[in-house]
Amino acid sequence: MMNIELIGISHKTAPIEIRERLSFSNGSLEKALCLLIQNSGIKEGVILSTCNRVEIYAFGDNGCSLSSCLTDFLSMFHDINKDDFQNHLYSLRGLSAIRHLFRVSSSLDSQVLGENQILGQIKTAYFKAKDVMALSSQGAFLFEEAIKLGKRVRSQTQIGYGAVSISTAAVEMTKKIFEDLSQKKVLIIGAGKIGELSVRHLYDRGVEVVLVANRTKARAQDLANKFNGKAVDFSKVTEVLKEADIVICSVSSPHLLVTKSQVVEIMGQRKQRPVFFIDLGLPRNIDPQINDLDNVYVYNLDDLKKVKDVNLRERLKEAEKIESIIDECLHKISGRVNNA
């Protein structure tokens, strides 16, 4: 019979100040694992330490409780008083511990539902534990199951589909309009954070030229350098506007930066090649009526948020499917687990 227990803290239970104090660095992990399995009663252990969670999984003999032992270990290793973190701690055993592991590996417990990193982090934790001989038959079996499940839900459900942040939603829309970004020009006006992040994503997907216009020339040059781009004088924006396929705007300005008549003229010069305006400004920088023109699309912050929310809702639906897949898996192995 498998006797499993876990304690942990995560973004759901503890603020970052506590999480960072309890996290294990890559270097200290081996030492920690060795110390962990020296505890009497603990035969196998895995430590999962990411920026959003610290979890210790322990497998031991039947009939003895490991959680207080694990708490002591955590407190001792990090030299922190138990009372400082105990309120943030969750402790699970038997099937509920396994359910938790499965939910983590299929990203249901992640801050961003459906994100992909956690599976890799679990794999790393598993191999680390295996390397220092902290894992043998039972724990290895369970973690292999968890990794298998993580892969399975990502290929069989759409949990990872669709952009769920503003900047990735902007990229998703760009791809739905242009398909191939390799010969597209991006013009970014103003140097906001989301704007920069959006350009970063577009740049990674191979846009050809990045033009940066900002009121402070130095900031424009700075940003342009990051993306192998060109800084443009802020007063010359209207001239380069017609070259750009994607225009990202985030300037704090009381009046509209791009007007409809301007775009009508540009579209003639461009022979109607499509343009996508991403308006991240507040108040808005781009006349929303421009969206009525053929082959021109305007998305503002709210629109992108809507895209993101729709995708998130889809992921939540997929999450329900995954919960029942997990139920199935738990049912299969329930006979092998000590759930008392």
């Binding site: 459900t157 309009i177 398909e179 082959n295 699309y297 998305y299 629109d303 809507k306």
Partner: protein, 271 residues
């Protein structure tokens, strides 16, 4: 034997349409492979029926409405397979395979008896003329499907109502591009179809052009697509306007093909 095979074609196309639909919901690639398998399987069976009929009748199966319908569906699936080979667009498969199934279904209600070939049609020109014309019709049918898809997707992007279809549809640029390429090919084929018909008319009747209703409507269709290509090249009519033109063009194709035969009499009255 022939009837069974022909029925098999219908079933295969329907299953393929169903599989393409399911592949929009499912993440399993298996369904997708199944859809392609049934399309190809149906197409091969379809080819076999055309060959069988050619052997039985001793002339190519393109002398009456039943035969031409079957040929129409066959060319649509052929053009679709070529497009799908390059661009794996499942939702396009749903539309095209449904259209093909409907054409076959309609054909199966028609009189399928083999009758002796009219003396006027006994010429090698028949195959050349009819096949080029139908290949162009098939291109326009596929462009029509893409035009509809484009308008739906464009509407969704514009109104920001990004529904269920949005994520399952290809990008606007890709639909616009395929639409354009396919119309270009269809236009060349239609031109060739009109020229071969004209040459045939000259050899058979001594007249290049006799303003027979089908000829007139083929010319109208040709003009619509010529206008499309011209407007696209010179005035930048792409995207929505191009999609609308591709739909109007196909309505004209349908009228040339079916409307003329049903409503007017002329030199092409056997179709």
């Amino acid at each position: 034997m022939y009837e069974i095979l022909f029925f098999g074609v219908l079933i295969a196309y329907l299953i393929s349409a169903a599989c393409f639909s399911i592949s929009l919901i499912s993440t399993r690639t298996f369904i997708n492979k199944l859809a392609v398998f049934f399309t190809i399987f149906g197409f091969i069976t379809h080819t076999a029926t055309l060959i069988l009929r050619t052997i039985a009748a001793k002339f190519p199966p393109m002398s009456n409405l039943y035969e031409s319908m079957s040929l129409f569906a066959w060319t649509i699936v052929l053009v679709f397979l070529i497009v799908y080979y390059k661009y794996k667009i499942n939702i396009f498969g749903v539309l095209v395979m449904l259209i093909s199934s409907l054409v076959i279904l309609y054909a199966s209600t028609l009189d399928s008896a083999i009758r002796p070939l009219l003396p006027a049609l006994q010429s090698y020109w028949l195959a050349v003329h009819v096949i080029t014309c139908f290949l162009s019709y098939a291109c326009f049918a596929c462009a029509f499907s893409l035009g509809i898809m484009y308008l739906i997707q464009e509407r969704q992007v514009k109104t920001k109502q990004l529904g269920w279809f949005f994520s399952r549809m290809p990008s606007l640029a890709i639909m616009d591009k395929i639409n354009h390429n396919i119309i270009l090919v269809g236009f060349v084929l239609l031109t060739a179809g009109i020229i071969t018909g004209s040459v045939w008319a000259q050899t058979a009747w001594g007249n290049w052009w006799s303003w027979d209703p089908k000829e007139t409507w083929a010319l109208i269709t040709w003009l619509i697509y010529a206008a499309y290509l011209h407007a696209r090249l010179n005035a930048g009519w792409r995207g929505k306007r191009a999609a609308i033109l591709s739909i109007i063009g196909f309505v004209s194709v349908l009228f040339t093909y079916l409307g003329v035969g049903l409503l007017m009499s002329g030199l092409h009255s056997y179709l």
